[in-house]
């Protein structure tokens, strides 16, 4: 099936859902002024559906937009590829959205024209109410099939000598402008009030300098690390082109080293690795 045929199916389906009044809106993608760049779009009535697009540039994650409406009157319709579905699973297990509030239209993905899709492990949706077309590849992409190592960004840094690694991160923090786009786009960065925005608590200084940027960068990475679904949105939105996906990849890689295979967002019931607590824990520290 061509992208155009898939796009037609999406438009028809969204229009039908709006016509039936089954959902309050459907979250998908539209074109922008520039070829090669799409944006998130809300289908709010039948007519809007014709603005939906599906091509190799429908890259932004739809799932984060669910957190803007936590108690919808009606179900929210959402188009979900593999990455979006992992994000939805995490949002459900993090108690950010309720499954029954969603109507998920699954879209098996052929991989987009974006770097991060080369190391995508999950092109087919994991959670959905309907699949709009049949998957072309087997569910999931096995590690050996990946066009690039799953933890490619972390491994770039690991390959550097220790001093150079330090210099690498200092360069990142010197160039960060703290626009917080990485935080805002991340589907697992869902605190209702971020510590950064807690006025005059002193948690996060206002200075724009490497020291304050480091506080934010490290806090962000650790706060989302074990729940990171490896979607790469944080890198996509960074206006300074900073390679921050390496931070959470490193955390996941470390978890895998300690506890075996681990991938966040594969199951809506799964706890996050660091969010688990066992009363019989042998460790007396807790």
């Amino acid at each position: 099936m061509t992208n155009e045929q898939k796009q037609t199916l999406m438009r028809e389906r969204a229009a039908a859902l709006m016509k039936d009044g089954a959902v309050s809106y459907v979250i998908g993608w539209r074109e922008t002024r520039f070829p090669g760049k799409t944006a998130i779009f809300f289908v709010r009535d039948e007519k809007d559906a014709d603005m939906l697009v599906w091509d190799e540039y429908t890259i932004p994650l739809t799932a984060k937009y669910l957190t803007e409406n936590r108690w919808p009157d009606k179900k929210i319709g959402i188009f979900a590829r593999g990455c979006d579905s992992k994000a939805i699973n995490r949002l459900i297990s993090d108690n950010q959205v309720e499954r029954e509030n969603l109507y998920i239209i699954g879209l098996p993905c052929e991989g987009k024209k974006d770097d991060r899709c080369l190391s995508c492990t999950q092109r087919d949706p994991l959670i959905y109410d309907e699949l709009l077309w049949e998957p072309e590849n087997a569910t999931g992409t096995s590690e050996t099939d990946l066009q690039r190592a799953r933890f490619f960004r972390a491994e770039e840094v690991e390959s550097l000598p220790t001093d150079a690694r330090f210099a690498h991160w200092e360069d990142v923090y010197a160039r960060c402008i703290r626009c917080y786009a990485c935080r805002n786009v991340c589907p697992v960065c869902t605190c209702r009030e971020c510590y950064v925005d807690m006025h005059r608590t002193g948690f996060q200084g206002k200075h724009h300098d490497a020291a304050e940027n480091r506080v934010f960068g490290v806090t962000r990475a650790f706060h989302v690390g074990d729940r990171c679904i490896e979607c790469g949105e944080c890198e996509r939105v960074c206006p300074m082109g900073l390679p921050i996906l390496g931070q959470t990849q490193k955390i996941i890689k470390t978890i895998e080293g300690l506890a075996g295979t681990y991938e966040a967002g594969m199951d809506p019931e799964a706890d996050s690795f660091l969010g688990k607590f066992d009363l019989d824990d042998k460790d007396t520290f807790m």
């Binding site: 539209r30 520039f34 402008i177 971020c194 925005d197 206002k206 200075h207 300098d209 206006p239 082109g241």
Partner: protein, 342 residues
Amino acid sequence: MTQKLLLKSALPAALTALLADHAVFAPTGEAERHAFTCLSSAEASETADAVNLDGLTTISPKEILFPRSETLYGIGLENGEISTPEPTGPTVIFGVRPCDVRSIANLDCSFLEKGFVDTAYVQRRENLTIIALACKELQSPACFCDSMGGGPASAEGADIMLTETADGKAFLVSFLTAKGEAIEKLWETASVLTEPNSADTAPPPPVCTLKVDKPQDLPAKLMAAFDDPAWERLSESCLGCGTCSYICPTCYCFDIDTEISGGKAEQLRCWDCCMFSDYSRMAGGHDPRPTKKERLRNRFLHKLAYFDERHGRTLCVGCGRCIAKCPSGVDIAHVIEWGGTL
């Protein structure tokens, strides 16, 4: 006004001459690292190699006049001694594009006009000489400066204007103000200028491909549309990040905070952004702009209506940075066009 010729081969000498008694900022680096940096005099000829005059910098040069973070004053915790930062000396920005030069007039409105002169800003501004560089080619498909009152060859606000010759080997140089003439003398002494001959001409400037129909009465139209449901649509993809404000040459919002460290309390001023959730939050927690719809509406009304009402200028020079860099496809040109249809 006389025009001189500055051969590109004489650029290192021209920069060295400036570096003798100025701090010199020029674009260096590539891609996301393309930014105005302070050239160091120690390596003047190498610095000339580092200068990258191709394209628009990722971040605008506004931070030279309006730093991301600056200490206004400090107080010693033990002795109560008040310290103020060292004033900056003569400064040159070299190779500023016409849109970014025009944006400085906007900063001047905010920091110098309406009966209030910002001490820190005026000190830097008076010491600043602007060497502009006309655009021989469009910098990006998002450029729309010629719809916003400027243009790829606009010299408005420049002390010196550089225009690349057709053969790409030199710049035609116009010295437009007294500050510009002071540099002319400096360059004459350093023998870096030559007389242009008839073959040294500049090609016609490019025309922006993004055309935005901006009506005369845009401020009134947009303000009348304050409650228009379209704001919901315009803001639906917005992430509420600070990208657009921080890369914009004209955005000038700041916050003032205190930091205590090293036995000193410092009052600092740093960039802030109207798209942030804590920006308009008041004591007691009330926020008159509670969601991204109100925040985005405020951002565009400030740029396209409120600022115009107060200062008679649009707070957008059409550099296109925010359109190109917004991760969510929010587009100020689209808002202007929509305003025109109202």
